[in-house]
């Protein structure tokens, strides 16, 4: 018996390990909970079970080889990781990217955002005891994975965005398939609202639960839908447009109260916006005046940027994902730091779980939508 458990027993409290094998932790996250009856008095998220030393692995690979490591950070939305890494390396090496590749990057990133939010939608519903939405979410996600398989050969780990462009152009028939998917997907969002968003049982479990104030969200460094659900309207796509986001017309959904339901619904609205962005990208790609180049000429496989440093960040599915690259002029990065949004999002648990009911722990954790591959790196 550790000191912690014995102290908990004396105070009529109980020490509970939530995870690391609990199905609701979406991976190997352990939360050390101290509960008094039904109420959580102390919560300490314990991360590191999936630590692979990613940032160190970057230093042992060339710039083009290191790309495949980024797939394995946030494996649910690997396209954003590829993109953020390539933007950082391109800034480091001073590489310009053709316009067509920029549109392809945005198109795939937004489709990946839909796929990622669908996983959130499905698993969050399962956490709340609704199984049907999970099946529907994965049916739609499968179509996006098919599109990605057709485009780049990977279903989960794409390695599609490359330094200087993208690896492949759209194959024949892809555009039509993508338009079909979006036409199929948009009405489904209404089905999801009927199934889950407006369901009073679901709402009573999530609305008003796990409140995060705007000040709390900012001070803990939240980003993405978790931040916007609390009020601050910060989206990297709007604040610091990268690729071609400044040419696209879209809205960023913002909620006010910062409850679990707000975080959930922000993501649902974002899926609709992502579908709109994807349509705009498809229109732009179909334009005949767009040059067919998808890769900048003269970017070597063995990239050797001059000594220096560069930071680039993108709005990934889970928030503000940044790569900080330092080069010493050699073939591999001297240092590569990853600012993973999930890692910062999971930290706030120790504050907001305190005082909530034990049944709400699952709801709050699920609503933050963390991926342990990115938390532990």
């Amino acid at each position: 018996m550790t000191d912690k458990t014995s102290a908990a027993l004396k105070a009529d409290q109980m020490f509970i390990n939530f995870g690391p094998q609990h199905p609701s932790t979406h991976g190997v996250l352990r939360i050390a909970l101290t509960v008094e009856g039904e109420v959580v008095v102390k919560a300490a998220p314990d991360v590191g079970y999936l630590h692979r030393g990613m940032e160190k692995l970057f230093e042992a690979r060339t710039y083009s080889q290191a790309l495949i490591l980024t797939d394995r950070l946030d494996y649910i939305s690997a396209m954003h990781n590829n993109l953020a890494y390539c933007l950082a390396v391109e800034r480091l090496a001073g590489v310009q990217v053709p316009l067509r590749a920029e549109y392809l990057r945005v198109l795939t990133a937004e489709l990946n955002r839909i796929a990622s939010h669908l996983v959130f939608f499905g698993t969050f519903a399962v956490d709340m005891g609704a199984f049907t939405p999970f099946l529907y979410a994965f049916r739609e996600r499968e179509m996006i994975l098919d599109l990605f398989e057709m485009l780049c050969g990977g279903r989960l780990l794409y390695s599609y965005v490359r330094v200087g462009g993208v690896s492949a152009d759209l194959p024949a028939g892809w555009t039509e398939k993508c338009r079909e998917f979006i036409a199929f997907f948009k009405p489904r969002l209404k089905d999801y609202d009927t199934l889950l968003s407006t369901n009073p049982i679901f709402k009573s479990r999530t609305d008003g639960v796990g409140l995060i104030s705007a000040a709390q969200a900012l001070s803990w460094g939240l980003s993405g839908p978790n931040l916007r659900a609390s009020g601050p309207d910060y989206d990297v796509r709007k604040a610091e447009p990268y690729c071609v986001y400044d040419k696209l017309n879209f809205k960023v959904p913002v909620a006010r109260t910062g409850s679990c339901w707000d975080r959930y619904y922000c993501r649902m609205l974002e899926m609709g916006q992502s579908a709109e962005i994807a349509l705009q990208c498809l229109d732009a790609l179909a334009a005949p005046e767009l040059a067919p180049e998808i890769m900048t000429k003269g970017v070597p496989k063995m990239l050797k940027p001059a000594a220096g440093q560069a930071y680039a960040h993108v709005e990934a599915s889970r928030g503000d994902l940044g790569f900080y690259a330092v080069s010493d002029g050699s073939l591999s990065p001297y240092r590569m730091h990853v600012r993973g949004p999930s890692f910062l999002n999971v930290a706030i648990l120790q504050e907001i779980l305190t005082g909530c009911k034990i049944a709400d722990v699952v709801a709050i954790l699920g609503s933050l939508d963390i991926v342990l591959g990115e938390v532990d790196r």
Binding site: G154, L157, S159, K301
Partner: protein, 183 residues
């Protein structure tokens, strides 16, 4: 009590609404593929198990250098013997019979299926190393994970495309686009 009852009524009505959504889906075509009696053929760009053609390989080692996880190893064949010089004639060029490579291994335990080796392979018109459409990779021991080609072995996948010998028989397989709803 009144609040409670109205909540129960509201939840009941909303459950029926949800059931209506699921009822509509019941009349859509099924998307389940009955693996293994039905097998799907992936799209042509799919990165499956690596196939290797020793006839085309020039043993340049580009794939070894491109691999991020160092899963490929190879050894060049010994140089071809120069024919004995004949009096009064210019020296004849060395004639090679058979592949330019001695052995070639891929450790699937390390492979990332990223496709960088295939991209870096310089042989033309066909690549010596490419991702086939085979996704049925099962190994029962770690030793099996290392696939080894050596002189005298039959080549991996001398035929090209989805019917490259590692993925047979293709006749009774359905293409991914033939699955309803995935069209």
């Amino acid at each position: 009590m009144k609040n409670y009852l109205s909540f129960v009524a509201e939840a009941f009505v909303n459950t029926l609404k949800g059931l209506w959504v699921t009822l509509k889906v019941m009349f859509l075509p099924t998307i389940t593929v009955q693996y293994p009696t039905e097998k799907m053929v992936p799209y042509p760009r799919f990165r499956g198990m690596l196939a290797y053609d020793a006839e085309a390989c020039i043993a340049c080692g580009m794939c070894v250098r491109a691999c991020p996880s160092k899963c490929i190893a190879l050894a060049k064949a010994a140089p071809a013997p120069v024919p004995a010089a004949v009096e009064g004639q210019p020296p004849a060029p060395a004639v090679r019979s058979g592949p330019k490579i001695e052995w070639y291994t891929i450790d699937y335990g390390r492979c990332n299926f990223c496709g960088l080796c295939e991209e870096s392979c310089p042989t033309k018109p066909v690549k010596a190393l490419w991702h086939s459409l085979d996704y049925e990779a099962v190994f029962s021991t770690r030793e099996e994970m290392t696939r080894r080609w050596k002189r005298g072995d039959t080549l991996w996948g001398t035929a090209r495309g989805s019917a490259d010998g590692q993925f047979a028989p293709v006749a009774d397989q359905i293409h991914i686009q033939d699955v309803p709803v995935r069209k």
